[in-house]
Every structure is written in structure tokens, then in C-alpha cells.
Amino acid sequence: MSDAPSTIAPEFAGFFAALQERALAFPCCDTCARFHWYPMKACPHCRSSVISWRRIAGTGSLYSWTTVRHAFDPAWRDRLPYIVALVEFPDAPGVRLIANVAADPESLAIGMAVTPCFDDGVAIGKSGVTFVPAGNA
């Protein structure tokens, strides 16, 4: 289950609604057809306020990642070490999603394919989606 903050901006809601259906979706402008992330009140490319949530296939690639070994928030102490990555998607250009990756850090490389997993079993954080190396899904 996702653990979205109880009060989120209305323009954020589409992401969490898609997660409930085990899918990823990002805001895409109906006027200029470009994605943006994070969500804004109007399209930052053309200022249109007609924005739709577009579902994507899900498979992405690692833009960068880090293995976190220090608990900046004490609540994370018993989950150390854990991986946080920036994931890019071929069908959502301009979007980079911050996500946990369940994998051996030694096996990761920039550009490698990762797929989303919506099962609580592999979850590291409480975002509702964790990525795994493609082929391990």
C-alpha cells in the first residue's frame, strides 16, 4: 500500500490513483503533449491547464542511484542499507522518478533496465512501488 501524505496537493492525486491500480502515470499536457514532473498547477512548457494523467508501460532505466547507509531520519535506521534511484522512462520523456530498487547494489549500472513491482513483499519504503532489475520481475 502506498503511504501518501494525508494532505496532498490536488495536482498530485493522479499518481496515487494509478498506484492503487498497480500502474504508473505521469502528468502530460493535452495542449503541447509534453510530460512534466513533479506535478504543477499548469504545464510548465506552455502554461496550459488542461493536463491528463497518462499511464506508461512501466519499464525504465537507471539514470543514477545511491545506496543509503546512514539514517537521516531515525525511522529508516532498521532498513539500512537501501537503494534510492532515479528512473527514466522511454514513454515519458522528461520524467525522472525517485524510487527504491530491490537489488544487490553491486549488480546495478547506469542505464540498466528496471521494472516496477507493486507487491508489498519487495517494498523497501512506503511509496507503493519498488523497482527490480528487468528480468527479475
Binding site: 502506498s2 503511504d3 501518501a4 501524505p5 496532498i8 496537493a9 498530485f12 499518481f15 514532473w37 513533479y38 506535478p39 504543477m40 510548465p44 539514470y63 543514477s64 542511484w65 545511491t66 545506496t67 543509503v68 547507509r69 546512514h70 537521516f72 531520519d73 529508516w76 532498513r79 537501501y82 534510492v84 532515479l86 522528461g94 520524467v95 525522472r96 522518478l97 525517485i98 524510487a99 527504491n100 547494489p105 547506469i110 523497501i124 519504503g125 512506503k126 511509496s127 507503493g128
Partner: protein
């Protein structure tokens, strides 16, 4: 013709992780020291300028005005937040002096992030998208934000841990010349490699310290400066730059994550005002929150090309006796972490020739920079004539 403006007094509290004093008491100590250094009574202050976010919430201008009975204050200004704010404060102070709105302006900045429960990590809670999308995956500490930049930087430019280590080691050597530095342990490549991994590839030695403290300085006219205790340090140029990216997006969404456009803009603006080039800079105090961000700023300001900062630091030499001394007090990595307010104080000290064992020989022009993503500030200061 615009008037000239000078920094005529500086004060700082001693670098420390945890102070027994709260932030307002520290501010009073720093302001007392700056006033005493200048030889000015508090009632001479007719303007106050700070950053626009952190000081208004912790040591507001009206509190300082009341504490000191500054009954002639007629100017109030603020700019950006954190490091960019204090590095650009002289821009606002000088503009106020030019416009006849003030004559003697107090600038101050500090944090109590050494004792505050959430330390520096609570700061980004003011960004709604970070709260909604980043905290739930444990992306919640500045070292992790900059680790993503560092990994990508190493991938794109073939940089190595030696490139990161070079800046940390050089600055530690500078810090060891300074009896006030918060960190006093020597650092060589072996010690760097043994340093605890925090959020890889960044080790503890790549991360700034955490501190409690406040710095203050006073800006006034050339006419007024002549009668004061200290040799006046000239504000030669002061530039601000930014890019159209929100605080939510800054660490993850910028198309080119490895360039800081605000740094280029701010540096050009300051250099143009001063009629100088980067080649005229004798030493630089650069916002070194992390080794990686310091390297990226060296590139973005134009000291060298993209991906070249590691070799630049090693070949040019950035210790006090190097060809371009950087962070002569040890910087945020080794001296203290007051978000670069201490960088302004150190530059003034260098230009007055008061830096002791850390004195840069024949220092004429000092560059100070402040990063508060996406904002950037560059201040150029000149030796008293």
C-alpha cells in the same frame, strides 16, 4: 555614478557542532563582534539585510532592531535564502546605499542545525512534492541528493573517487592551518578511503560538517569607512543567478543535472561589475556543501570545463599555497557549516591580511560564492588600498 561600498566590520561565533547558546544569543555575539570590529555603535546601523527565509524565522530583523535599540533604522531588505542570501546581501546593501536609502547596513546569517532535532534534514519539508514522492522512499538527506549527482557525474565524465578526495584533502590541509576549525584531524587519500560511506559514492569526508553559529558583517560608504577602525574591504561586484526550476525539482528533474546555470550567470554579473576576469581572482571561497557540488561549481562558474574540475583542483593546487587557493579556512567540509556566511568573513580576513598561517600571499581579489539551489550568488571583494 554609483557610490562605492565597503565591508568595515566582521564577527563570527566560534565554529562548533553544538553551542550552549541558542540562535538568537549567537546572533547577538556575532553582531557585537562585528560592531566592535568596525568601531561603530549599534545606533549607527540604519539598514538590515539577510536571507529571506531562514533568518526571518529564527532571528528576525525587528528582534535585532529592538535588542540593540536601532532607532535610526530606515531600510529593510532580504534576498534568496541560505548561502546565496548571505553572499548576495552586500548587493542589496550596496544598492540601498547607492539609492540613499541607508548608509550603514548590518548583514547576518547563521543556523542552529547542530542542536536542532531535524538538523539540516528538516529544511526540505517545505517542498510539497518532496514530501509526497521522496520522503516515502527514504530520499531524505542532502548527502543522498548529492550522491545521485556524484554517481551521474562519475559516469558521464569518468571522474573517480580521487577527484572527490582531492578537494576534501586540500581543504582539510587549509583547515589545519586554522586554530578555529571544527575538524582538526588530518586527511590523506588513505584516510579518505577509510572514511565512512554515507550515501555512496559520498563518504563522510565528502560531506560538510554540521554546526551552530552566526556570522555578521557591516557594509557602509567609502566616506564613512575612512573614519572607522578597520581597513575597508571593497565590494567590487556582486551577482545573483538562478534557473526556472522549482525547489521540488532541483535535485532530480533538471535536464542537465550536472550544470548550475545560476553559477555562470552570477559569476558573469559580478565580474562585469568589477571589470575583472576569473584570472584576476587570487583565492575563492566556494559553497562546498559536498565535494561534488564544489567541483560542479568550479566548472559552472567557468574556472574550467565540464568534467575537468578534479584534474583542475589537483593540477592548479587549491591549498593556501596553491595557484588557486579554495576555501582557505577549510570550508564547509572542515571549518564549519553556516551555509557559507563564514566564507564572507574569511574572505575579508584574507584581504585584510589577518589570516595568520592560512594567509594567501599578496591576496588582492577574493571570490565568494553561495549555492541555494536553484539560486546562486557570487561576491567579489578587493583588498583595502
Amino acid at each position: 555614478m554609483t557610490k562605492q561600498a565597503f565591508i568595515v566590520g566582521v564577527g563570527e561565533t566560534p565554529p562548533t557542532r553544538r553551542s550552549s547558546k541558542d540562535i538568537r544569543a549567537l546572533a547577538i555575539d556575532a553582531i557585537d563582534a562585528a560592531l566592535a570590529d568596525a568601531g561603530l555603535p549599534p545606533t549607527a546601523i540604519d539598514g538590515i539585510v539577510t536571507d529571506g527565509l531562514i533568518m526571518p524565522n529564527t532571528v528576525p530583523h525587528e528582534y535585532v532592531t529592538a535588542q540593540y535599540g536601532m532607532d535610526k533604522r530606515r531600510f529593510d531588505g532580504s534576498i534568496s535564502y541560505g548561502g546565496t542570501g548571505i553572499v548576495c546581501a552586500p548587493m542589496i546593501a550596496k544598492a540601498a546605499i547607492d539609492a540613499g536609502l541607508a548608509e550603514t547596513v548590518l548583514c547576518y546569517f547563521g543556523v542552529d542545525w547542530g542542536t536542532r532535532a531535524s538538523g539540516p534534514y528538516g529544511f526540505h519539508d517545505l517542498y510539497p512534492a518532496k514530501l509526497a514522492f521522496e520522503k516515502p522512499v527514504g530520499f531524505n538527506g542532502q548527502p543522498s541528493y548529492f550522491a545521485l549527482w556524484a554517481r551521474r557525474y562519475m559516469h558521464e565524465f569518468g571522474a573517480t573517487e580521487e577527484d572527490l578526495a582531492a578537494i576534501a584533502i586540500a581543504q582539510r590541509s587549509n583547515a589545519l592551518r586554522n586554530p578555529r576549525s571544527q575538524v582538526k584531524k588530518p586527511l590523506d587519500l588513505e584516510a579518505y578511503r577509510a572514511s565512512r560511506m554515507i550515501s555512496d559514492p559520498l563518504r563522510a569526508a565528502d560531506c560538510c560538517v554540521i554546526s551552530d553559529g552566526v556570522c555578521a558583517f557591516i557594509v557602509t560608504t567609502g566616506e564613512r569607512a575612512r573614519d572607522l577602525r578597520q581597513k575597508p574591504v571593497k565590494i567590487m561586484g556582486c551577482g545573483f543567478g538562478t534557473e526556472p526550476v522549482s525547489g521540488d525539482d532541483i535535485f532530480t528533474q533538471r535536464a542537465d543535472l550536472l550544470r548550475i546555470p545560476g553559477a555562470a550567470a552570477a559569476a558573469q554579473q559580478a565580474l562585469r561589475q568589477a571589470d575583472l576576469t576569473l584570472g584576476d581572482v587570487d583565492f575563492a571561497e566556494i559553497y562546498d556543501c559536498f565535494t561534488i557540488s564544489c567541483l560542479m561549481q568550479i566548472e559552472s562558474m567557468g574556472f574550467c570545463g565540464p568534467g575537468e574540475a578534479g584534474p583542475f583542483v589537483r593540477e592548479r593546487g587549491t591549498t593556501v599555497d596553491g595557484r588557486l587557493p579554495i576555501n582557505t579556512h577549510g570550508g564547509l567540509l572542515s571549518y564549519s557549516y553556516l551555509l557559507g556566511a563564514e566564507h564572507v568573513i574569511e574572505a575579508v580576513r584574507q584581504l585584510r591580511g589577518e589570516a595568520g598561517a592560512a594567509q594567501v600571499a599578496d591576496a588582492q581579489v577574493g571570490l565568494v560564492s553561495g549555492l541555494s539551489v536553484p539560486d546562486y550568488g557570487v561576491l567579489l571583494l578587493g583588498r583595502p588600498t
